[in-house]
Symmetry: D2
Subunit: 342 residues, 4 copies
């Protein structure tokens, strides 16, 4: 079924396989008049790219976004924005052996069972490279949101090494995308150690949304928390999602829970309160381990690279809800309009 | 916006407030020819009903499902199935003081901010009573699924008291809906203790799906895991969702992860493998605490009552994906059809 | 599949069979704060009701709308509005012979083929009575639209008898809902003549939308004209739809076409221009003819009764597009645009 | 809002402006295992291309479809199929004068009003060139449908010149796509006459669907007739849609209507009966007339070029309904499955 589109008013459609001609994103429903260029995409795509450091894969992908439509004289026109990134000639012969091998923990076998055919080169559509199109969508989404909304993803736990301080200014200054420099160093050391053994590790991402618009989300099936869960759980490596107190609620008495608004995570009744929103996202270890991992160009820890993707999906949900909420805005004029209509 | 419908081929639309005339569910897209009666709903609604024991609220609601459409001579006709449950004359004067009070941790304030008006009686639409319509939808969904699929929700943690054994036969035999009788007793004792203090507690539900059909879920935005997350996170009190190894992946090396198929949780590449699916769901403590809780008829722990709702949402997702997958089934006849079309 | 919902932001879900317990409508996505009562529905339902005159069926249905949810203290709350109309004890034994008979021109045979089961009493879900729920939805839709928008449906052709003058004040004063009293009388005479012979006749409805908001409709698949076509062609007896010059374009040179803005029908590029919108709708003759028609209580011409349904579907489309357009309002300039349009 | 996608299980998303970098289509929800190549698209795109004869515009566009994704070793994989067609360097300076001119009968003014910005080169997104992506989608749709289903569009009326015979073998042998060679010649003569005067003309297309699958379409808002109306009315130049007896029903007594199954147009109760489906589509004259038409490279009659687009939209609807119906197929195995579930 058609399941490569996400969103209602603002909708991202993605396509492309890791070793096909190109990956692409079509962003439909973007308001007109927003300044947008290929440069905007480049910056963000770089954050997602592997080969940024030793903890991630050493493949050096050069991702050149090309805008095909929807922009005129540097601005969005309200028409669908199509962006593609061509896949450079990659060593697909590396993957020939995968033709007949189902890698444990990968989508190989289920794709084969479900579709009876699969593009086995580099995982095809199930490759992490698919997320590139999500990052493109996220760039547009952020442009739609009020400027003061910030979405900060950062690594809070890798292999049990947890952050103890939170300094957002250092996140992009270490390969772990960690807000605690000390923890970052420990994590990095641990990850490199695993890499040398052909092993890998998972982790937890925290997302902090500052100055979110209030009133986003719609009861009962369009709650902000369920939209965010849907969006973020659709990312390949993500195995868990929570907000506010998350799974700690099991240990929390009601009297404790209501005392600290942070436990609500900025969402009440499924609707944003205007307070900071805090999400937790579990990311599993890459399943390529052992001999394969040593030989191949695989990530021992993809948590840092998943962060821009989680941020992008978060931005898409917020921007969609923001547009939806505008349709129901009860500004003064609207209220009087409504009244006259009654 | 319209956000009271859930699902694609099989779609549940719900309506109703806790103290309005009635709550209701419209289930659209159910195949024709399935035997269905009001009795089918009664059994399941009883499981959701409060007043089943001391750990849940003592309100005794009598929920009488009435089928309005979609059934003819005891069978579904393929037409939308509407079921309503009238609200009995309830002491809504109890809630008069809530007219001007925003209860912390409740949806009161956000509803007021978003809509400028709210039905404050018993929480209105944000009341837990809304979930009754979900349970009705779940009953139909289970009828659509192959008979051997079983969905078992059970309490695994309340206030840090965790289960140590798993005996599914005892789940419905204790008020905690716990698969470990010893743990159940401890949990119950703890909850009653909190109740006497006007306090409350959260917990964790585990969902075990046995014999799920394989090939359910569609990359990249219709993955089974994101559909389930969306469905379950839309339940009022739920604050976290995970599957398989869940948040433990942070501590799990790749070599460990791939070794045990249970870590995959029955889902690979977002598609069901046919293996048992295991979900974890975090449920927060009720926010009605202190004097209010002591006076009112409130639940000190809603975990057991949320279980039938989680099961219902799970069933709705599975049945929807099951129908979707049938559209793409490559049975022998379909394959030959396809071939002739090529 | 789930196909009993219509609309995107404003969504109408309908259910019910002609001889089931009740028919119903759930209107989701209605803005909060709009005054709405059961009385609002009654007025409009009366217009749709049969037995209003000799040209329509003599069944006297008493349609009592009951609001089940979504209204608090006389106003919409933003929650789904459910309205049901119970079916009074009707002589369903009349229909027993239909159990095994497929009436030509009816849905009997296709329902049986598609679903393998059908509620044969009075056509079940395929009965014209289903449209009652659409009329309910239309009432809410009109309340959402700016007050000055008017939607006027009227009969322009029955059996070749066409209107020659247009006086909107007489439409509700004759059983044909015709804006030309002379033509109305002729039509009525002709229809009664056919009735006495057990025959029936079709006709054409014109819909005039005055003061429509501008900028409604979205290229390329959400054009106002395609949304209206979708909405109106979903009505049982409707066999054709056109706007502006309609099918006359076949005879119209470009130089003629562009000369008169009326040919555009108020829609250019699929978007409303703010000019009056004019639609044409073809309605077939009832298929119950001959002996059956003489014995039964059937309409010899349903054109007048279809008018409120066409108006309702039109209102639903306009209100949905109106909300959608609000989501993309371009602040100051947009507000002034809107204002001028209101 | 996002309105550049069409369909439910099978979904076409289109993008691109007439003078942008490229036009494109993403087809999502296509079953796996269908043989598909760029050549398949070329054949059909040629039919849509202008410059085929004197009656259409003399621009010679070279449309080279490039598949970017969804095909592996010559077959569909179940993943989204993206196809783009680059726009060759076109004389966009020709259109500079349109920057400040709103052409009557075009989308220029409404786009400006709605979006506050527009790509004025060649109509941008409102150009007929947009339909190229629909034709691409239609090619895939036809591959999904059973092989024996044929969709034949042909011109039946241009400027009052109507066909009198129906010979499908001559349709592609005359520039008018007319099934009556005599009428074709007359039409052509008339169109060339108008061209010399800088004028243009509209017409009517008839679509004949032979051997359609039965049971397509879903009451009450997903009827086959409303889906087809939605699809076809979304094409730029289309002003009217009907099926079966269409607008003639106004003149047709019930006794006549039910006598000839052709009047039903292959659709009863909104569901396909398996009989041939017949549609009528009104296409307006191009609005570029007078001096502009003489100077520019404009079509005096676009009816023949709209035919492949109407066929494509028809195929998309049929294929979508075909997949939907498969989800509810009551084959022997499904029935026994169902039974065990009851």
């Amino acid at each position: 079924m058609s399941s490569n589109s996400f969103g209602s008013l603002l909708r991202l459609t993605t396509f492309g396989e890791s070793h096909g001609a190109a990956l692409g994103a079509v962003i439909d429903g973007c308001p007109a008049g927003i300044r947008l260029s290929e440069k905007d995409f480049e910056t963000e795509l770089k954050r997602r790219r592997p080969g940024q450091s030793a903890v991630t894969t050493s493949r050096s992908e050069e991702d050149r976004p090309v805008i095909l439509s929807g922009i005129f004289e540097g601005k969005t026109t309200g028409m669908p924005i199509a962006v593609i990134v061509e896949n450079k000639a990659q060593r697909s012969q590396d993957y020939d052996k995968l033709k007949t091998v189902f890698r444990p923990g990968h989508a190989d076998e289920v794709y084969d069972s479900k579709y009876g055919i699969r593009d086995y080169r580099g995982g095809g559509r199930s490759s992490g490279r698919e997320t590139l199109a999500r990052v493109i969508g996220g760039v547009v989404a952020r442009k739609i949101l009020p400027k003061n909304v910030t979405i900060i993803g950062h690594t809070v736990n890798v292999g049990g090494i947890e952050i103890e301080t939170f300094d957002p200014t250092v996140i992009e200054k270490n390969p772990m995308r960690c807000a605690d420099m000390e923890a970052a160093k420990e994590m990095e050391k641990y990850v490199l150690e695993l890499k040398s053994k052909g092993d890998s590790i998972g982790g937890i991402i925290s997302v902090l949304i500052q100055s979110p618009p209030k009133n986003l989300g719609d009861p009962v099936f369009g709650k902000l928390k369920s939209r965010l869960a849907d969006a973020i759980m659709s990312i390949g490596a993500v195995t868990g999602f929570s907000y506010g107190a998350g799974f700690d609620v099991a240990y929390m008495r009601g009297s404790e829970y209501v005392k600290d608004a942070q436990n609500f995570g900025g969402i009440l009744g499924g609707i944003s309160t205007g307070d900071d929103i805090v999400l937790s996202v579990a990311v599993k270890s890459p399943s390529s381990v052992g001999k394969i991992a040593k030989e191949g160009r695989h990530d021992p820890c993809i948590v840092p690279r998943v962060i821009p993707v989680v941020e992008a999906m978060t931005a898409l949900v917020l921007a969609d809800c923001w547009l939806l909420q505008k349709a129901y805005a009860r500004e003064r004029s609207a209220i009087s309009d409504q009244r006259s209509a009654v």
